[in-house]
C-alpha cells in the first residue's frame, strides 16, 4: 500500500510542475505589430504633410500600444480620435490631399487591427493559432481602404477642374445619405 502511495506522490509532484499558466488573453503579437507599423506609416505621412499634425497623430501610436497592452477598447478609440484630429490639424496647415489619404488609410488600418486583435485575444488567446485570421482581417481592411481612397482620389483628380469644394462636399453628403439608406 505504501509503495503505491509513493508512486502516487511522485505523479502529483510531476503534475504540479507541468501546470499550464492561465490562458493568455493579450492580443496576438502579429496584430499588435501590424497595428503599430501601420500607425507609424500613417504618422509619417502626416508629418510629411504638416509636422504639428504629425505630432498629434503620433499620439495614436502611444494610444494603440497602451490600448493593446492593457486590453482597453476605450484607449484604442482615443487613439483613433487622435489620428482623426492629427489629420484635421494637418489639413488646417494646408497639407495636400495625397499624404492625408495615405495617413487616413494607414491609421484606420492601425486602429482596426488593434481592435480586432483585442477581441481575438479575449476569445482565443495569444498562444493559439491566430496568424491567418489576423492577416485576412488586416488584408480586407487595407483593401477596402485602398479601394475607397483610390476611388475618391480618382474622382477628385478627374472632377477638380476648378470645382468648388462645396460642390464636392454636397456630392459627398449625397454619398453618405446613400450609405445610410443602404440597410
Amino acid at each position: 500500500m505504501s509503495r503505491m502511495g509513493g508512486r502516487e506522490r511522485a505523479d502529483r509532484d510531476g503534475r504540479a510542475e507541468t501546470d499550464p499558466p492561465e490562458r493568455d488573453t493579450r492580443p496576438p503579437t502579429l496584430a499588435v505589430v501590424v497595428s503599430l507599423a501601420a500607425a507609424a506609416v500613417g504618422t509619417l505621412a502626416v508629418i510629411v504633410a504638416a509636422p504639428l499634425g504629425g505630432a498629434v497623430a503620433g499620439l495614436s501610436i502611444v494610444g494603440l500600444a497602451v490600448g493593446s497592452l492593457a486590453g482597453s477598447d476605450r484607449v484604442l478609440s482615443w487613439a483613433a480620435a487622435a489620428s482623426v484630429a492629427g489629420i484635421a490639424l494637418a489639413a488646417a496647415f494646408g497639407a495636400g490631399p495625397e499624404p492625408l489619404l495615405v495617413a487616413g488609410v494607414a491609421l484606420a488600418l492601425a486602429w482596426d487591427v488593434a481592435d480586432h486583435g483585442l477581441s481575438v485575444g479575449r476569445q482565443v488567446g495569444r498562444e493559439a493559432r491566430t496568424r491567418r485570421n489576423v492577416a485576412v482581417h488586416a488584408g480586407t481592411t487595407l483593401l477596402t481602404g485602398a479601394l475607397s481612397a483610390g476611388v475618391v482620389y480618382g474622382s477628385f483628380v478627374a472632377a477638380s477642374g476648378g470645382q468648388p469644394i462645396a460642390a464636392l462636399a454636397l456630392l459627398l453628403f449625397g454619398g453618405v445619405v446613400l450609405v445610410s439608406a443602404f440597410r
Partner: protein
C-alpha cells in the same frame, strides 16, 4: 438559459464595445439550422448581434468633410469621403452561421489516469460562403485538465477548406463527455458577430486499475462462509481460541495431548474460526465532500474512490463479499457479491458511475430518504466501510446510526489536507484537530475511525 445569458457568461461571446453608443438596432435573423452534411455534427446558430466596432464612422466622415468645407481644404474632404467607404464596408454582409463539419480525434479513448491524451480537432467549412473571421473554442470536459496548448483557434476558411488544431488533456478517472464547441463568426469588417454551437459527441473513458490493497482491518460481523476475518467462534482454524472437554467424534489431532499426559483428561483444542464478511463500501460523494487543498488538486472524493478501490480488491481477494454505495444525490448501488464478474463491475462502478463524477452534481441530496433507502438495501449481516473526509457532521451521524442498527461501521477518512511531501510531518494542526473531532464523534457512537493520508489511503492503525 437564454441566448443573451449565454452570450454574457461565455468568454467566447465577449462583445467588443467602443466608447460610441449604438445608433441602430439591426434586424436580427434567428436561423436554426441542423447539420445535414455530417451526421456526427449538430449545429445551432445563435442570433447575430452588432459588435458596435464601427459605430460613429459615418459621423467621423461627415465631421472631416465639414472641417474641409470650413477650412476650404480638399484634403480632409477626401479623407472624409474615404471614411464613407469604411462605413459601407462595415455594413457589408451579415455574420452567417459557421457551417462547419467537425471531427474530434483522441489519441486514446480509454487511457490510464494521468496519461496525456492528444485531442485533434478538424473543422471543415462545408458551406458555400467563406468564413472570413472564424474563432473556434472547443468544449473541453470540466473534469479534464488541459495540459498543452489552448483548445482554441482563430482562422479564416474558404468553402471546402479545413483547419486542424490539437491540444492535450490529462486523463482522470471517470467518463468525460465533450461539451458544446462554440464557433464565432464575424463579417469581414467585424461589425456583426454570430455564435454557432456545434455538438460533436466525443467521449473519453478512464477506468483506473484498482490498486492492490493490503489487509484491511475488518470487524467481527461475518457470514457463515469461511473467509479471513477472525471471529469469536471456536472451530477449525489456525489460531488458538480455547480448550474444552473432549467429546466423542472430535478429531484426534485436535486433542490436547500435553494435557492428557499431565492430568489424564482428554481435552480438545478449539481454534478461532475465520469467516467471510459482507462489506459495503460507502463513499461520501455529497457536494460537501468535494474538498481539496488547491482548486485543481484531487478532491477528497477522488481519494475516497482510490481507497475504496484498494479495499474492494483486497476484500474480494480475501473471499469477502463486497458492495459499493455512495452518499449523494445520485443513486449508486452495487449489491455485495464475489467473483471475477463482480470485480469488473466494481471497477467500472468506481471509475465511471455518475454518482462519483469528478465534479459534484447539482441535484439536491435528501438525507432521510437516502438513509432509508440505503438501510433497506443493506444486507443484515453487512459491515459498512465509510469513506469520507468528515468535513461535516452528516457522515458521522449516519455511521453512528448504522452502527446502532448492528452494521459494524469503520470510517476511513482520507486526509486531503496533507501535502505529498509532508505526509509524515506535523500536518496542518487545524485540520488534524478537525479530523480528531471527527474521530471522536464517530467513536462515541461505537464506529471505528481510521484516518488515512492522501496517497496512502488505508494506512494507519484503526482506533477502537
Amino acid at each position: 438559459m437564454t441566448a443573451a445569458d449565454r452570450e454574457r457568461t461565455d468568454p467566447a461571446a465577449v462583445v467588443d464595445s467602443g466608447d460610441e453608443t449604438a445608433d441602430e438596432d439591426a434586424a436580427d435573423a434567428n436561423t436554426e439550422a441542423a447539420g445535414e452534411d455530417s451526421p456526427s455534427t449538430e449545429r445551432r446558430a445563435r442570433r447575430a448581434f452588432d459588435t458596435e466596432r464601427w459605430v460613429g464612422i459615418t459621423g467621423v466622415a461627415l465631421a472631416l468633410v465639414g472641417v474641409g468645407v470650413v477650412l476650404r481644404q480638399p484634403g480632409t474632404v477626401l479623407v472624409g469621403a474615404a471614411a464613407v467607404g469604411y462605413g459601407l464596408y462595415a455594413r457589408l454582409g451579415e455574420a452567417e452561421e459557421a457551417t462547419l463539419a467537425v471531427t474530434r480525434e483522441l489519441s486514446d479513448r480509454t487511457p490510464e489516469p494521468g496519461d496525456e491524451v492528444t485531442v485533434s480537432v478538424r473543422a471543415r467549412n462545408v458551406g458555400e460562403e467563406p468564413c472570413v473571421d472564424l474563432r473556434i473554442v472547443d468544449g473541453v470536459p470540466p473534469g479534464l485538465e488541459a495540459v498543452e496548448g489552448p483548445a482554441r483557434v482563430a482562422t479564416a476558411l474558404r468553402p471546402g477548406a479545413e483547419v486542424t488544431f490539437s491540444y492535450a488533456v490529462r486523463a482522470s478517472r471517470g467518463e468525460h463527455e465533450w461539451e458544446t464547441m462554440r464557433a464565432v463568426t464575424r463579417t469581414p469588417a467585424g461589425a456583426r458577430e454570430r455564435v454557432t454551437e456545434i455538438e460533436t459527441p466525443t467521449r473519453l473513458t478512464c477506468t483506473p486499475e484498482l490498486a492492490a490493497g493490503s489487509e484491511l482491518p475488518l470487524r467481527g460481523l461475518t457470514t457463515v462462509s469461511h473467509g479471513r476475518v477472525p471471529t469469536d467462534i471456536g472451530g477449525a482454524g489456525v489460531e488458538f481460541y480455547a480448550t474444552r472437554e473432549y467429546r466423542r467424534g472430535d478429531p484426534l489431532k485436535r486433542v490436547d495431548w500435553n494435557r492428557r499426559a499431565r492430568t489424564g483428561e482428554l481435552a480438545t483444542l478449539e481454534l478461532r474460526e475465520e469467516r467471510a464478511a459482507t462489506v459495503v463500501l460507502l463513499i461520501d460523494a455529497r457536494e460537501a465532500a468535494y474538498v481539496a487543498t488547491e482548486p485543481d488538486a484531487d478532491t477528497a472524493v477522488e481519494a475516497s474512490v482510490e481507497a475504496a478501490g484498494a479495499a474492494f480488491t483486497a476484500l474480494l481477494t480475501g473471499g469477502d463479499r463486497v458492495g459499493i454505495a455512495t452518499i449523494g444525490a445520485h443513486d449508486c448501488w452495487l449489491p455485495p457479491g464475489a467473483g471475477t464478474d463482480h470485480a469488473v463491475r466494481g471497477r467500472e462502478t468506481l471509475a465511471t458511475d455518475p454518482a462519483l463524477a469528478p465534479t459534484p452534481s447539482d441535484e439536491q441530496f435528501y438525507r432521510t430518504l437516502w438513509f432509508r433507502q440505503f438501510r433497506r438495501r443493506l444486507p443484515g449481516d453487512a459491515q459498512v466501510l465509510v469513506f469520507s473526509p468528515l468535513v461535516d457532521d452528516y457522515p458521522t451521524s449516519a455511521a453512528r446510526q448504522l452502527n446502532a442498527y448492528g452494521h459494524l461501521v469503520t470510517v476511513l477518512s482520507p486526509d486531503v489536507t496533507a501535502t505529498a511531501t509532508g505526509a509524515n510531518g506535523a500536518g496542518d494542526s487545524a485540520t488534524t484537530e478537525n479530523d480528531c473531532r471527527g474521530d471522536d464523534r464517530a467513536t462515541a457512537g461505537g464506529a471505528r475511525t481510521t484516518r488515512a493520508r492522501s496517497g496512502t489511503p488505508c494506512r494507519g492503525n484503526p482506533r477502537r
